[in-house]
């Protein structure tokens, strides 16, 4: 029947192929780009590098430490995230809720050097935290360096991310279940057993794999706060092999190790999650059902949320405090504005690309899943997540090896930076969009098919209202990620026309430390501004008041 209707009136892009092919093509292109980048390195592959890896006690220790710190970081982040997400869900009227939600978004795109600067100012030896301990008369001084520093930083980055994703999954619990819980008079622990835990349990394997991957590939944090070679990660070894030894073969072997560890974890987690995607009901609760257990836990929740907000806010305040003196001088310089402009252009383009890729990939994978083509759907989804396990540095260097004679002027470099930034953000954009995509009510979709609401109309009328907020959020993440990028820009960018992060590094290496602190503050304000504005836009005319959150961050390599 659908075919006949289609012949009668054809809305733009109504042919079913429009849902599948763009995504398939993009997935294929992404696979080719990543394979090319990787292949660029693999052309230098030498088998001797493999035994060299196992013979080196040091590299074995590096791999072990990467896994160990990532596992502990993940466990801590998730453990903290659960009560925070519950408290956030219970206290929908908590006054600082909006701010806290923005912070959870922001902390994930914070450039590492800026975040570390803030963390050190708060928790360092001469930081605020130790000063507080001293005034309280507590003799124990806390030491930031070593495993505890890495863990603190990783919790700072990942607990908000995890809490945000958990909150989202709790908000997906259908309203009628909350109503039922309220009618039955379920208390906090009963709600946890009956509603919250089942929702989280489906989420946890995937979420844990995701956080683990981020911590496993962490580089600058581990190097700066880890104390020394005792605590380095595989990424450092890759960086070292690429940048200092020109040992592409070793780098490729290490990248394969990383790919195997993170990739197999993902495969395992996504198998778990696909079983969990058979979620009851398709509708998203639009208005939150007031929870009966909100009142008793009122005080405890508020305290927890307050402490968590302070935990996230303090390092940012520290950046602001240190950056303020240099800010005025910075704002009067054209170099700041030109770098900012360049950064914005790259960020907006990268974000748009990323969103476009993400939509196409999800559309295609969903359509393939519906038609039972599991293999294709898996392939398409995997293409969007490749950059999580292939380090940006590997991808960049590999592409560079392949493109080398052609690359020259500034705009080509920036175009490549934009493309790689878009790819790096893609896994996160997909995470943001996937939930709402899955949440479309199949009955409405069938109805839409019957009325021949397809193609562009379908997207605009049916999907866009639901997707608007996640789209804006995904855009904010991708743009934020690109704004903070140090690694790819260092490879392809031209320092005579720097982006904002590059300007920061230039100022640092020229001892312009006050100016650098000012630039760091500008970056922070810009990120906050983007999230704030896009959030407002998303709030404005959204028909569904639905929290749709999620993730992002990437470690800077530079």
């Amino acid at each position: 029947m659908a075919q006949r209707d289609y012949a009668l009136i054809a809305p733009p892009l109504a042919h079913p192929a429009w849902r599948r092919w763009p995504g398939r093509i993009i997935a294929l292109v992404l696979m080719i780009i990543v394979a090319a980048g990787f292949g660029g390195l693999l052309t230098e592959w030498q088998w001797q590098a493999v035994p060299a890896l196992w013979q080196s006690a040091y590299l074995r220790q590096v791999i072990w430490f990467s896994i160990y710190q990532a596992a502990v970081s993940t466990a801590l982040s998730l453990t903290l995230a659960i009560p925070v997400a519950r408290a956030l869900h219970r206290q929908s009227r908590f006054r600082g809720r909006g701010l806290l939600l923005r912070l959870t978004e922001l902390s994930l795109v914070l450039p590492t050097i800026v975040a570390v600067f803030g963390l050190v100012a708060v928790y360092g030896r001469s930081g605020w935290f130790n000063a507080l301990l001293e005034t309280l008369g507590l003799p124990a001084s806390w030491n930031l360096y070593g495993l505890q520093g890495i863990l603190l930083a990783h919790v700072f980055f990942n607990a908000p991310l995890a809490a945000r994703i958990m909150l989202q999954s709790m908000e997906r619990i259908p309203a009628n279940q909350w109503r039922l819980a309220a009618q039955l008079g379920l208390g906090s622990s009963a709600i946890w057993r009956a509603l919250e835990w089942p929702a989280l349990r489906r989420l946890l394997p995937g979420l844990a794999a995701f956080v683990f991957t981020l911590c496993f590939t962490s580089f600058a944090i581990v190097m700066t706060l880890g104390g020394g070679p005792k605590s380095t990660t595989v990424e450092v070894a890759i960086y070292q092999a690429l940048r200092y030894e020109f040992d592409f073969s070793q780098a490729a072997v290490l990248a394969v190790v990383q790919l195997l560890i993170c990739g197999s974890l993902w495969a395992l987690a996504s198998r778990q999650a696909s079983a969990g995607s058979l979620m009851p009901g398709g509708t998203v609760s639009s208005d939150q059902w007031p929870r009966r257990d909100a009142m008793p836990a009122h005080r405890r929740d508020r305290l927890l949320l307050l402490v968590f907000t302070v935990f996230l806010l303090l390092p940012l305040v520290a950046v602001a405090v240190r950056g303020f003196p240099g800010l005025y001088g910075e704002l009067t310089h054209t170099r700041l504005w030109t770098s900012l402009g360049r950064s914005l252009i790259v960020a907006v383009t990268a974000a748009s690309l990323s969103i476009g890729f993400g939509l196409a990939i999800l559309g295609a994978s969903q359509s393939d899943t519906r038609s039972g083509r599991k293999w294709q759907s898996g392939f398409i989804e995997a293409s969007g997540h490749l950059t999580l396990v292939v380090p940006a540095l590997v991808l960049g260097t590999g592409l560079f090896v392949l493109l080398r004679p052609q690359l020259g002027n500034v705009s080509q470099g920036l175009a490549l930076v934009t493309l790689i930034n878009a790819l790096m953000a893609l896994p996160f954009v997909i995470q943001v969009l996937r939930g709402p995509f899955k949440a479309f009510d199949p009955r409405s979709l069938r109805l839409a098919d019957q009325f021949n609401v397809r193609g562009w109309y379908r997207f605009r009328l049916l999907l866009l209202p639901l997707l608007k907020r996640p789209l804006l959020l995904g855009f904010a993440y991708a743009a934020g990620l690109s704004l903070g990028d140090f690694s790819v820009i260092a490879l392809f960018g031209s320092p005579s026309s720097p982006t904002l992060p590059l300007l920061l590094y230039q100022q640092l290496s020229a001892y312009q430390l006050d100016d650098a602190a000012g630039t760091a503050l500008v970056m922070l304000v810009l990120l906050f501004g983007i999230f704030f504005v896009l959030h407002r836009l998303g709030d404005g005319r959204s028909r569904y008041r639905q929290e749709t959150p999620v993730p992002v961050r990437k470690q800077a390599h530079a």
Partner: protein, 309 residues
Amino acid sequence: MTIYTYPSFVSEWGPGPAIKTSFEARCDCTLEFIALDSSVAILHRLRLEGESTRADLVLGLDANIMAEARKTGLLAPHGIDTSALELPINWQDDIFVPYDWGYFAFVYDTEQLTNPPSSLEALIDAPDDLKIILQDPRTSTPGLGFLLWMRHVYGDQAPEKWQALQDNILTVSKGWSDAYFSLFMNGEAPMVLSYSTSPAYHMAVDNTDRYQAVAFEEGHYLQVEVAALVRTSQQPALARQFLEFMLTPAFQQEIPLKNVMYPAIDLGQQVPDVFDRLIDPPETLYFQPETVADHRKQWIDEWLNATTR
């Protein structure tokens, strides 16, 4: 004419812009700086590009990677008169022309530390609460410089000394920026591995004497920055002209406060006064580039073993 260099050289505060203007005024040409990530990245890029490189000249290689750079076979003899050079060591090289130099040194915060250790030995023997910030020799130039410094002073004993130093190391960061900006400027440790010339910038531009370098009795390891012609250059004459220009006062006067290093020729009165107040190491420590190239990997492994044990 295209020159590959590193970011701080061409940044607004670096010597690049002034040098571009004054060279273009005398050569009737256009100078294009392409700044790469770091000194190592210049070599890296050159290797990757091979003979298809656009560079006519590379500026900013560190003496420690000279041997590697020579091995690429992509650089050409300079053939210019280098007799004006004033370096702490005798410089004879047919390919590389130095344009500035400095010493690696520990910079300390006078407000935190009134009595800094006066030798490497004293630093190693210092009580555990004297903390220093180092950089990783695998990822940073000063980090590698300190590795060579230790090696030069202690030879085969270096691994033991590294172990003895462990308790004094607050942390080992990836690069100079993290160490200096995120940690040292936040007051995390009273001493950081940097350059002997770093205080000059604070004194001349920030107008503060707070940060000073400390002279070690054993001497200091030397850093020399060099430039070289690229063999495949389409503009060999122009590139050679630039190398000659590098050793003139017009170029060199931009070095002290903009690159924060010592000029490679005698500038006489043109050197800023604050340079008189910098430390003057009793001895200059320096390995021939070939020695570094032959042993770097082995020495780094030694360091890894000594510090992860």
